[in-house]
């Protein structure tokens, strides 16, 4: 990494639901412009951790800063700096592509002129000129996901959080989706992505593996494979997940 500005820093970040500790004192840093893979089995706590970073869930204890802002005190500042794409498809299906873009541009307070040029760029980049005035609900899933990602970075955030963005999408579309992610990373946007496709883990600059609410390993894919003496990230994952006590659900 040429650029080592820290954009996400957590220190012993913890989330408890009653007796259950979903996220157990995780500490890590993410650098500007990197693609940070956040991996783990279902139920390992990755979604909970991500929701805390986005301000959707209040941590039980620990510290964290996002783009230099404290997640307890400066949530409003953080919100303007981050983009978020959830597991569920999160655009309005009964609105057209243009209407969705205008809506999200509107709630992020983009000026009219900027919104107009960015909308044109976005439509052009995705090759959706012919569909611009069609309802989003009529688009194929792969296109929807690409559109959702593009809308999530419409306001040019410093970090975008992607929660299993490629679930249920075919391999070709996934590849195209990752092209979009690379483009965004090149423009300086930090990508924080959860996935359980291990081939996708290979695309990340660095990967963290969560097991039972703690970060069991964190390094580049190459180093991780070396460390666990494995050929693929899949093997690394199995090696780590074997020790898990929580049942995946």
């Amino acid at each position: 990494m040429s650029n080592t500005n820290i954009v996400i820093a957590t220190k012993k970040l913890t989330k408890q639901f009653g007796d259950f500790t979903a996220v157990d004192a995780i500490t890590f840093e993410v650098y500007q412009g990197e693609i940070f893979g956040f991996l783990g089995a279902n139920g390992a706590g990755k979604t909970t951790a991500m929701r805390m970073l986005c301000g959707l869930s209040k941590p039980t204890s620990g510290e964290a800063t996002i783009a230099g802002f404290d997640i307890y005190k400066e949530t409003e500042r953080i919100k303007t700096k981050i983009g978020y794409m959830s597991q569920k498809f999160s655009l309005y299906e009964d609105l057209t592509i243009i209407e969705n873009i205008n809506f999200f541009g509107g709630i992020y307070g983009l000026p009219k002129a900027a919104l107009k040029t960015r909308t044109e760029q976005l439509i052009h980049r995705l090759g959706l000129e012919a569909e611009a005035n069609k309802l989003v609900g009529d688009l194929p899933l792969g296109w929807k996901q690409k559109l959702a990602f593009s809308v999530a970075i419409l306001h040019e955030p410093s970090i975008v959080f992607l929660d299993e963005p490629t679930g249920g999408v075919d391999p070709i579309t996934r590849r195209q989706f990752w092209d979009l992610i690379y483009q965004a990373a090149e423009s300086g946007i930090t990508i924080f992505v959860t996935t359980h496709y291990m081939d996708e883990a290979e695309y990340c600059n660095r990967v963290s593996m969560m097991v039972d609410g703690v970060i069991a390993a964190l390094d580049t894919p190459t180093n991780l494979k070396k460390q666990f003496n494995a050929q693929t990230m899949d093997e690394v994952f199995h090696e780590l997940a074997r020790g898990a006590k929580r049942k995946s659900d």
Binding site: S86, S90, E93, D94, F103, G105, G106, I107, Y108, G109
Partner: protein, 368 residues
């Protein structure tokens, strides 16, 4: 402000692109008004009546004329003898038979009193007693007119005046009730479903991650439904005034003001429901089943509250539509100003503020 504007516009897209929502929004009030205004009236019109006129003199003719012009009765036929009465009722469509005795006019003039027999089909006791009451009213008016000419002195004729609704029209009672019912139900349903829908589809998360203030989200969410409800109110008012001959004796501005408070109250209730559930079906069920019955029962337009047991009467006080119903009747029918309905208005406002506070407080800024 730009955020707010974008949001409201998006909300209108949702409403106008969903046929089901549109149907509910504008179809429901129209159906309700027509249903309650025409079909479910407790007034009995054009009931078949058969007359056996032994008298066949001036008095009986005058009474028969009055019955003939009454819109409550259709004279089906005249029969010549009491023997035919039994057969007449057996035909099934006759509810009432009237028998005038011989020499009715003479008897009336000489002894100042005479008897007329009214025979009713009491298989439906409510209908029977209502119909006999209509006949009695006709007889009373005849007596009064006779009395005016001859001054027969001793007879005491009770003069009954039906205040505010002299024709005893059903619509006068139902329309304010339907207004309360429809406005409240639609508002609660629309608000709760539209918010829960965002939770269900996952867009609520996106909204909460955005810099938009949660309070602004709620207000922007409610604004379109507030506006649509006012349009709804206008449709109901136009229909009831021009179609059902409802009077509007009081101030229109006051009516809209109070209705706005009532609509806000419903919006707040919808918000409260949306906080407590995550699925559209549940929200719909709670809004419809949970609200419909209490409103029907405790507003007072179907069943008089005065006849209910004490605990139910006390319970009715927490149903906002009860107060709105009283207010609407006072403004539209009695033409009262703000002072006489101040108590009811304040109660309604208090309820609205309470619901708004509770629901805004409960609205989760963070999802977990």
């Amino acid at each position: 402000m730009k955020q707010f504007y974008s949001f409201v516009r998006k909300e209108f897209y949702h409403v106008f692109r969903d046929n089901k929502t549109l149907l509910m929004l504008f179809g429901l009030p129209i159906t309700q008004i027509v249903l309650f205004g025409f079909a479910l009236s407790n007034e009995i019109k054009n009931s078949n009546i058969v007359i056996c006129d032994y008298a066949n003199d001036q008095a009986s003719h005058e009474i028969i004329d009055r019955i003939a012009v009454s819109r409550n009765f259709d004279i089906k036929k005249m029969i010549l003898s009491e023997d035919e009465i039994e057969a007449t009722f057996k035909e099934g469509d006759v509810k009432l038979v009237l028998v005038f005795p011989n020499n009715l006019n003479q008897t009336l003039i000489h002894s100042k009193t005479a008897q007329i027999q009214i025979i009713a089909d009491a298989t439906d006791p409510n209908t029977a007693s209502t119909l006999t009451a209509y006949i009695q009213a006709i007889l009373n008016s005849y007596q009064a007119d006779m009395g005016g000419a001859n001054k027969p002195a001793v007879q005491i004729i009770p003069e009954i005046r039906m205040l505010y609704n002299p024709e005893l029209k059903g619509a006068t009672n139902f329309v304010p009730g339907v207004m309360a019912l429809v406005l409240f139900l639609i508002c609660v349903l629309m608000t709760s479903v539209s918010i829960v829908k965002e939770k269900e589809t996952g867009t609520m998360e996106i909204l909460l991650v955005s810099p938009m203030n949660p309070l602004t989200i709620i207000i922007a969410k409610a604004t379109p439904y507030f506006v649509l409800s006012l349009i709804n109110l206008t449709v109901i008012l136009l229909m009831s005034i021009f179609l059902l001959d409802m009077p509007l004796n009081g101030s229109l501005a006051l009516l809209y003001l109070v209705s706005s408070i009532f609509i806000l109250c419903a919006l707040a209730a919808g918000l409260l429901i949306s906080n407590s559930t995550d699925s559209q079906q549940a929200a719909m069920l709670i809004s419809l089943m949970g609200m419909l019955l209490p409103i029907m029962l405790f507003t007072g337009f179907l069943f008089p509250l005065e006849n209910m047991p004490m605990p139910l009467q006390i319970f009715a006080n927490i149903v906002p539509s009860k107060w709105y119903y009283i207010i609407v009747k006072s403004i539209m029918i009695k033409g009262l100003g703000i002072m006489p309905i101040l108590k009811e208005t304040l109660i309604l406002t208090g309820m609205t503020l309470f619901l708004l506070l509770v629901s805004l407080k409960k609205f989760k800024i963070r999802l977990a």
